[in-house]
């Protein structure tokens, strides 16, 4: 097998390189649960999972406050996904993490 082919196999089978990251969260209202992303699916995703996880954590922290803007809905199931929408492992623990988990 040629080296180029071997490298291709390694790239496809070993560590994957995501194209970008988004913060996934759900907003709980009286009637329904709305799923949203930061940045939105129409915008360019974050190029850094560090930035994405930091944003997720700040978002989670904001749900702990008693700010009047969060009175209508509570943000739940906050985690980072890649550009394709698959959950991304938290880089610090190398495990899937969810901030403010809430079974829907």
């Amino acid at each position: 097998m040629k080296i180029a082919k071997v490298l291709k196999v390694i790239d496809q089978g070993w560590v994957q390189k995501p194209e970008g990251f988004r913060v996934h969260f759900q907003k709980k209202t009286d009637l329904e649960i709305i799923t949203d992303f930061v940045p939105g699916t129409d915008d360019a995703p974050f190029d850094s999972d560090v930035t994405a996880w930091r944003t997720a954590w700040k978002l989670y922290q904001s749900t702990q406050s008693e700010h009047p803007d969060f009175g209508q809905g509570k943000l739940i199931n906050i985690y980072v996904v890649d550009a394709a929408g698959n959950p991304v492992k938290y880089y610090a623990t190398n495990r899937h993490e969810v901030f403010n988990p809430n079974k829907v």
Binding site: V15, S48, A92, N94
Partner: protein, 289 residues
């Protein structure tokens, strides 16, 4: 003083004849120059809002400035009685001669190895070039300071231009203890670099064992990133390395030296302390000299 009278009378005659025209001409010139200054300032501000390309804005503004300047000078010379066509011809000849001289002597003129908008490092200063003149270069450092550097200093010192190459290498040098799993450390470090979307696939990220020091093994991760993303990628990779190594149970090394004392005889408690705390006398210094 008496000798000066004929000259003064001559000046008076000239002023009487052409004074009004001269004043008119000077008025056009001064007003024209002020107007050009305002127009160019306004134009630059408007153009900067349309395009963020600083060199392009600068080039267009300079061209318009020259055209307006020629127009104002020509207009100012008309009241004196000079023929506009001759003035224009004269200015065109001067311009062409200047351009020709620049083309001929350009290889011999020391030029600055950067353009406006480039990120450079000269001496200890790192920042973005905002403008250049014949005498100095204005640079904005990344901590918000504006620095004017003499061009002579830039030309006589080393200088790094980060815009000439599109990518840059990130070095991640990590020191681990000898009793740690070296292969696991290499694998984790390589995975951290590969899984970052900003690291380039070619050249591939790679990990070397760079040193076997007396207190640690040094492994060096090498990956390439776009020049503009260098700083953030480096910081993110360092953070991930620290956290992932902690999570994987790979201990970092810190400078240390183990001292093993093998002593067959029993130590007398007072004797070594007295010896180590002994204050040297003056005679001791004389002996040393």
């Amino acid at each position: 003083m008496v000798d000066q009278f004929p000259k003064l009378i001559k000046i008076k005659d000239v002023l009487t004849l052409y004074g009004q025209d001269l004043v008119q001409s000077m008025f056009f010139l001064v007003v024209g120059l002020i107007a050009i200054r305002l127009i160019i300032k306004l134009f630059k501000r408007t153009l900067s809002k349309i395009t963020p390309n600083v060199p392009l804005v600068s080039a267009i503004s300079n061209t318009i400035y020259v055209i307006l300047l020629v127009t104002v000078i020509t207009t100012a010379l008309v009241p004196i009685g000079l023929d506009t066509r001759n003035v224009l011809r004269f200015l065109i000849i001067i311009s062409l001669v200047t351009v020709a001289l620049i083309i001929i002597f350009r290889p011999y003129i020391p030029s600055l190895p950067f353009k406006v908008g480039n990120t450079i490092k000269t001496g200890e200063l790192l920042g973005k070039v905002e403008s250049t003149t014949f005498l100095n270069t204005r640079m904005r450092t990344f901590d918000g300071k504006t620095v004017w550097i003499p061009n002579s200093k830039i030309l006589n010192d080393y200088m790094i231009n980060y815009h000439l190459t599109p990518s840059r290498r990130v070095n991640l040098d990590v020191r681990i203890r000898y009793d740690q799993d070296l292969m696991k450390a290499k694998q984790v470090l390589e995975a951290i670099m590969i899984e970052d979307p900003r690291t380039l696939a070619k050249p591939r990220p790679i990990v070397y064992v760079t040193h076997l020091l007396e207190d640690c093994v040094t492994i060096g991760g090498r990956c390439w990133v776009d020049n503009l993303k260098y700083w953030r990628v480096r910081c993110d990779l360092l953070e991930k390395t620290k956290l992932r190594f902690d999570n994987e149970g790979i201990a970092f090394a810190y400078p240390q030296r183990d001292v093993h004392v093998y002593n067959k005889t029993k130590l007398v408690e007072d004797a070594p302390i007295k010896a180590s705390c002994a204050v040297p006398k003056d005679d001791d210094f004389e002996d040393m000299q």
